[in-house]
């Protein structure tokens, strides 16, 4: 059966009803435009619509996931100031003290296989409360992370400051520059690589304070 091109000039257009073309020569049957032809623009529009319908929730979920954890470091050369969360900060010292003392000055014996690392971080800010509530964590060269001032050190009697970032003062006029001391408990064989300062409202950005290689 032969097929011919629909007559676009006849009026009313029988193609639009799905009926054979009455104007076609006798003995031939001309079928109306196919469903695909009649709906070609709708089908074409369906492709980007489906892509958009998939992309929007994926984008939203990915964005929420990305902001759920510190993933984007803000860093500077070792010892330099890092600008983060309306503040500047740098790692002043990083040591592993040979002698550990509790809050009344008595020596503390660490459990075997563990080592304390002590970081002194200096902060500068016009708003001393900007970093209040931040988290300070140490990352070792194997990628493992450790909390600052962990409970294990408190159990051993070591003093832990209220905040690892904010100035430890009740002064009405807070300082523009201050330092905090943060201690970490690591396996003896672990090598510190850097300190992460994390403000929840800045995620996924975090400050990365590189520890100079020894």
């Amino acid at each position: 059966m032969s097929m011919t091109t629909p007559d676009q000039t006849s009026s009313p257009d029988p193609m639009s009803t799905g009926y054979p073309n009455a104007a076609a020569p006798v003995g031939t049957t001309v079928y109306a435009d196919s469903w695909w032809r009649r709906n070609r623009w709708g089908v074409a529009a369906l492709v980007p619509a489906l892509a958009l319908a998939l992309a929007v929730p994926i984008h939203d979920a990915y964005t929420a996931y990305g902001k759920s954890a510190p993933r984007t470091p803000v860093t500077a050369e070792s010892g330099d100031w890092v600008t983060y969360d309306k503040s500047q900060m740098r790692l002043s010292t990083m040591t592993s003290p040979a002698r550990i003392e509790d809050s009344i000055g008595s020596p503390v014996t660490l459990p075997a296989g563990l080592r304390v690392w002590r970081a002194t971080i200096t902060f500068r800010s016009q708003d001393a409360d900007a970093l209040d509530g931040c988290d300070v964590m140490l990352t070792d060269t194997s990628g493992n992370s450790y909390d600052g001032n962990p409970d294990e050190l408190s159990d051993l009697g070591l003093d832990a400051p209220l905040s690892a970032c904010a100035p430890d003062t009740m002064s009405v006029k807070p300082p523009k520059q201050w330092s905090t001391v943060v201690e970490f408990l690591l396996p003896a064989g672990a090598k510190p690589a850097g300190i992460r300062v994390i403000s929840a409202d800045q995620l996924p950005r975090y400050a990365w304070l590189t520890i100079a290689s020894r």
Partner: protein, 213 residues
């Protein structure tokens, strides 16, 4: 003007009739395709595991004295003890069942992690959460540091008759263990031990959290 349209109308009628026959076949084909699609959908749905099965936690089992990897932490059950009275800061707590205290070593793997879920589960799937009648700071409040194992004890209050049929289950999230690892250790409690504990009125005290030396 209309005289010449007679043959065309007749022809049109016959063509329309033939076309209607084809249309019925085509519509029957469409209906068949819809039925086939629905049947295929029903078959797929019928054979697809339900949400509970798809999202069930990954149970990692071990026996007492052996470490079990719960993805973000390791746990080794060191022992179990029990009694009828549990001491606490706020006084002694008795029970109509029995207190079961599980001693374990916990070790985070790569990042600080908190233990949020601790239950005893019997073979019928009934779960008994760690008691809230005494302070148990190992649950939720405290971070475990990688490479710094701690030894802790967790207390549970369970029916005496079921104490011999309990497994410890531990996970990080207190509310949502879907598709996460859950450590499971079968507790070696006998019926005789459970009865003995039920009769023992000497107050038990939870061991303090410690770092093994």
């Amino acid at each position: 003007m209309t005289a010449g349209l007679g043959p065309i109308r007749n022809h049109r009628r016959s063509v329309l009739s033939a076309f209607r026959g084809g249309r019925i076949v085509r519509r029957a084909g469409h209906a068949l395709a819809i039925v086939a699609t629905l049947a295929a959908g029903a078959a797929i749905t019928d054979r697809t595991p339900d949400a509970d099965t798809q999202q069930h936690p990954f149970i990692r089992s071990a026996t007492v004295g052996h470490a079990v990897d719960a993805r973000t932490f390791d746990v080794t059950v060191l022992g179990v003890r029990g009694g009828a009275v549990l001491g606490g800061i706020s006084g002694s707590h008795d029970t109509s069942g029995v207190w079961v205290l599980v001693r374990m070593k916990l070790d985070a793997r790569t990042n600080p992690v908190s233990l949020g879920y601790a239950v005893l589960e019997d073979s019928d799937g009934r779960t008994y959460r760690a008691t809230g009648r005494v302070d148990q700071s190992i649950l939720g409040e405290r971070s475990l540091e990688p490479g710094v194992p701690v030894i802790a004890e967790i207390a549970f209050e369970v029916p005496t008759a079921l104490a011999q049929d309990m497994s410890l289950r531990l996970a990080v999230s207190p509310t949502d263990q879907r598709m996460d690892a859950v450590a499971q250790v079968r507790l070696p409690i006998t019926a005789g031990q459970a009865r003995q504990w039920h009769a023992d009125k000497n107050p038990l005290t939870l061991a303090a959290i410690s770092v093994p030396t």
